[in-house]
């Protein structure tokens, strides 16, 4: 009994400690996010629509796919690499999963697994090539990006694969209680990713390889295995995002996920992860994803022309990274 309460207490203190640290590390972008939310809460146009439960869940639902990708992307970028293939994997895995239901009448669970699997396989392929050769991740994933996109078009013939089964919508458009399903999945994925990065040996190895891969080799870390794992994980996350998105859109679309890799990279970089590898936290990525999500939502609520939305988004990304640069330069 005593032992149990002691463990419980230490768990709470650990949690509090990591929370304070998270606040400290991400103070800049957290403030940016809060300011953004504040503006949208008091602006006369959005005042009544922004801070409603419905809209908050709506934002979270929208950013879930981006944050799935960003979870994998955080690891990949900390490793010193990049994964450009994730956007196309969204399209391919979504089409395959949707096709499994509508074309072959396979059970939903099998369809979902197939979608995840296709993501995992592409990720594993990326990982295999990147870990066994010295070809840069940028090039390898650029190639698989095109391959996956092409396969999605080949499979669908260019038109969406519609799914009429009602249960299909559960993952993307459904609810558990009042909470949208993708938000539940997102929370689970964030916890798993955070545990891997902060509490496992693999997590340490990712930071080690990203920080100094030569030193990692001398440390006896199996660098190839680490690279393989990270890329496989990123692929799996993209597969998940694809399935969830296809569920939300009632169809697998070969055009889905177009440019999604860039939004994921933006979330990671705004979240403070260094593109040169070795440094970054999933906690920052969450904020980065939220900023981009809230911004998209706010611009929509404000009825900003979608062409201009790109310009604003770009400017905000640059601003966020610039503040981070100023902060680091002082340190």
């Amino acid at each position: 009994m005593d032992q149990v309460s002691k463990n419980k207490k230490s768990f709470i203190t650990t949690f509090r400690e990591s929370f304070t640290q998270w606040l400290k590390e991400n103070l800049g972008i957290i403030i940016a996010l809060l300011v953004l939310c504040l503006i949208l809460s008091i602006n006369p146009v959005t005042r009544n629509s922004f801070l409603t439960l419905k809209n908050v869940f709506n934002v979270l639902r929208q950013i879930s796919s981006n944050l799935f990708l960003a979870c994998g992307m955080t690891m990949v970028i900390i490793l010193g690499g990049i994964d450009l293939s994730v956007g196309s994997v969204i399209a391919l895995s979504g089409c395959i999963a949707a096709g499994a239901v509508s074309r072959y009448n396979l059970p939903l669970s099998v369809a979902v697994l197939m979608g995840l699997l296709i993501g995992l396989i592409i990720g594993m392929f990326n990982g295999l090539v990147i870990s066994k050769t010295t070809i840069p991740a940028f090039i390898v994933t650029l190639a698989t990006m095109n391959i996956a996109k092409g396969l999605a078009y080949v499979y669908t013939g260019g038109s969406p694969v519609r799914v009429v089964t009602k249960e299909w919508q559960f993952l993307g458009a459904g609810y558990v209680g009042i909470v949208p399903t993708p938000v539940i999945i997102l929370i689970i994925v964030l916890i798993i990713t955070s545990l891997i990065m902060n509490r496992t040996k693999m997590g340490r190895y990712i930071y080690a390889v990203g920080g100094n891969s030569m030193a990692a080799r001398f440390s006896g870390i199996e660098v190839a295995k680490v690279k393989f794992f990270v890329h496989a994980y990123s692929g799996l996350m993209a597969g998940l995002a694809g399935v969830v998105l296809a569920s939300r859109m009632y169809s697998g679309q070969p055009t889905a996920g177009e440019g999604a890799e860039m939004d994921a990279i933006a979330a990671v970089v705004v979240g403070g992860t260094s593109m040169s590898g070795g440094f970054g936290k999933i906690g920052g990525t969450i904020i980065g994803g939220l900023i981009i999500g809230v911004l998209n939502n706010g611009l929509n609520l404000l009825n900003v022309n979608s062409f201009w939305q790109y310009v604003v988004k770009g400017a905000v990304i640059l601003l966020a990274v610039f503040i981070d640069y100023l902060k680091n330069r002082k340190a």
Partner: protein, 494 residues
């Protein structure tokens, strides 16, 4: 003969937030002299050099060049004043030829285009004038480090520099190359160039330097004529106390053979080397750079995939294919180049100290943070590493403390065999002495230690036996009583 004063730095102050890096430093350089700048890491040598080179502007103080007061605002002013700095890390462009590097930014032109023929011709003339056996048309990246350094020197001279600063130029070149470097330096001083020479190697001072200025904690301590001072005196000025027993070594106490190698080769640098290591022994490995010492150890540590030959551990034949396997066999390797092969710079002292022993405190997703802290602290204490906390980024520590972290990291694995590759390179005198006494203690406790070193005094004073390597093979083995610098050099240079 009293030669004229080239450079005078007076009362130089420089502060950074939180650090008073230079406090009233004076320095003087005469024409034709080699003037050593001596001090432990963090003593302010590099800050002083950066002030001279126009990278930092001093907060206070005056600089005179040939009697004229100058203000060195930036790197270009420094160059105009005839100051050239050869940094420890070479700054040549590897994908350009030697000639292109020498004339970078001031290429001879033919109309609007670079006159490559003339460029290479001019460069070759310069190289030949200093007796350097280098083709101006080779790519710099293809030259060994020592020759790249020569190119840097020629580049500096080609700017008509009168004041040449060399920051630890011998830290990565072999003894033979060092003597060529010294010859070049003598040619330069004979022409009236003044050289400021930064080095941790005391033995080099006697050979090449005329005067020496000692700095400590950002202050000027003294300037002495090298011929009239002693090594012990200089060391005590550097560390601010007398270092009794610079080397600590208790001989004896060796057990049976723990590691035996026969005819090991890696199809490259190692061409059939064999040796025996006993329990509780410190085995020195001497030889020139490129003799294959580090490469031989890489075979033993599983870093070389396709080596041939036999390795026996405690009598049993083993086939080590990866560092992970070597670690399981109780072998540890502290690599030669800690910056490139060892440290995770932006990570904490704790991360760096415990990366080899994660199994001791991480089970699946359960991390025992207290144990982690305890392991890190334990080896900080054992190595007497100076760090503000275990959270400090390791890249911000001094070279000596970084090396202590590296050694501590591997001691945490409780190895039976500890391979140290250049354990005191870029480490200041005080930390060096501490590292020697720790190595001695470990051997006394029964650990078997292999120490590769290019510093002969270190090898001679620490080793039970010394293997000398030459061209990928063992050239000979000397016991510690019979070994001398001459004998080692004779074997190494064959």
């Amino acid at each position: 003969m009293e030669s004229k004063v080239l450079l005078k730095m007076k009362n130089i102050h420089k502060s950074f937030p939180g650090v008073h890096a230079l406090k009233a430093v004076d320095f003087e350089l005469k024409a034709g002299e080699v003037h050593a700048l001596l001090g432990e890491n963090g003593a302010g040598k590099s800050t002083l050099i950066k002030v001279l080179g126009g990278i930092y502007t001093p907060d206070e103080g005056e600089i005179y060049i040939e009697g004229e007061k100058v203000e060195i605002k930036d790197v270009i002013t420094a160059q105009k004043c005839g100051i050239s700095i050869i940094h420890q890390e070479l700054v040549l462009v590897p994908y350009m030829t030697v000639g292109e590097n020498i004339f970078l930014g001031r290429e001879p032109m033919k109309g609007k285009f670079v006159d490559r023929a003339k460029l290479h011709e001019e460069a070759q003339k310069l190289l030949d004038a200093y007796g350097m056996d280098i083709d101006a048309k080779t790519l710099v990246g293809k030259l060994p480090i020592a020759k790249q350094q020569m190119v840097e020197i020629v580049k500096a001279i080609s700017y008509q520099s009168k004041i040449l600063v060399m920051d630890e130029p011998t830290s990565s070149i072999s003894d033979k190359e060092v003597s060529f470097l010294f010859d070049t330096m003598r040619t330069l001083t004979a022409k009236g160039v003044g050289i400021i020479y930064i080095s941790h190697k005391m033995s080099e001072l006697e050979e090449i330097c005329d005067r020496v200025t000692v700095m400590r904690d950002g202050t000027y301590i003294a300037t002495e004529v090298v011929r009239e001072t002693t090594k012990d005196r200089l060391i005590s000025m550097m560390v601010g106390r007398d270092l009794k027993n610079y080397y600590t070594r208790d001989y004896g106490n060796q057990g049976e053979v723990i590691l035996k190698c026969e005819n090991v080769a890696d199809n490259n640098m190692v061409k059939g080397a064999g040796f025996e290591l006993r329990k509780g022994e410190i085995l020195g490995f001497a030889g020139l750079v490129g003799a294959g010492r580090s490469e031989l150890m890489k075979c033993i540590f599983g870093l070389t995939k396709n080596y041939t030959g036999d390795i026996y551990l405690e009598g049993k034949k083993v086939n080590i294919k990866s560092p992970a396997e070597a670690i399981r066999h109780g072998i540890a390797l502290v690599p030669e180049d800690r910056k490139v092969e060892g440290l995770y710079h932006i990570q904490s002292v704790k991360f760096n100290s415990t990366i080899e022993v994660l199994n001791k405190f991480i089970r699946f997703i359960f991390v025992d943070k207290n144990k982690e802290e305890q392991i890190a602290q334990n080896y900080i204490d054992m190595m007497s590493t100076k760090t503000p906390s275990t959270k400090q980024a390791v890249g911000k520590l001094s070279g000596g403390n970084q090396q202590k972290i590296m050694i501590g990291r591997w001691l945490a694995t409780s190895p039976k065999i500890l391979i140290l590759d250049e354990p005191t390179r870029g480490v200041d005198v005080g930390a060096k002495s501490e590292i020697y006494s720790i190595i001695n203690k470990l051997a006394k406790e029964g650990m078997s230690i292999i120490m590769i070193s290019s510093e002969l005094p270190e090898i001679l004073n620490m080793s039970d036996r010394i293997y000398v390597m030459c061209d990928g093979k063992i050239a000979g083995c000397l016991g510690h009583e019979e070994a001398t610098q001459e004998k080692i050099m004779k074997l190494a240079a064959k």
